[in-house]
Amino acid sequence: MPVLGDRVLDLGLTVLDTEATHFYLNSSEPATFTAASSTNKLGTKDFGAGGCFGSPAAGSPNGRKVTSNTFTDGTVDSSGTATHVSSTDTTNSRLLLTASLSSSQAVTSGNTWGISTGFDARIPNQ
């Protein structure tokens, strides 16, 4: 099996770095951009392109990764139980990433939400 060079991996991760515009808080794992950004949406954080993730860096134990930025001022749009977070390129209507929360969390419309510790998205090199 071949080992992929950093540039190959970085070109994929750069999409998260430069094209991701939003984080969404979701009531279930979204299968599509539409589900993430509307159907299953409970909360929104609009960073604009380039604001959601950092630049590609060395991953562990191998490969490359990007790390999400943190925030505390996301908007809870609807009350419900949040189970997942997703990131999208809303400019081009693309779902880029989904991740489950460590535990479900009840949220209330009008409150704020955030990501207090950045999480990694990694592509292994083999």
Binding site: S27, S28, E29, A31, T32, F33, T34, A35, S38, T39, K41, T81, A82, T83, H84, N92, S93, R94, L95, A99, S100, L101, S104
Partner: protein, 134 residues
Amino acid sequence: MALLRISNPFKRANVVSSEVTEEAVAAVDDGNVVQINDIVRVEPGPKLKRDIATKELLANAITAKHYQFGQPDAMGNIIVEGEPMTYLAWGGDETGREVTYYVYLLVNGSWAQMATYDDRAAAIIYAQSLKGFN
């Protein structure tokens, strides 16, 4: 109040025509979201599946690696061995993604899932039938 109440959003709807219309072909298709008009769209994604959680199912050959015992399933419920679980067919080490086509209708400013189809043309035909709901 919602325009339509959906008792089972994953229930397969009836195909209303056997042919893809010229309008459907002319609809904007960017390779991902197919925007039929301002209130109807079709989007491909992994199929939502329900099965009993077993070691075999969660061995990463069939399901994605994030589905594990003690972790959330696609609905956010903790996966327990021997119990039903829901997962998206993203693919595993030995299986590819099972793609299905989700049909959405804009209802009161939010996209409601109306049906899913394994066949893209059938999804577009059904989506065409929803165009009058504005």
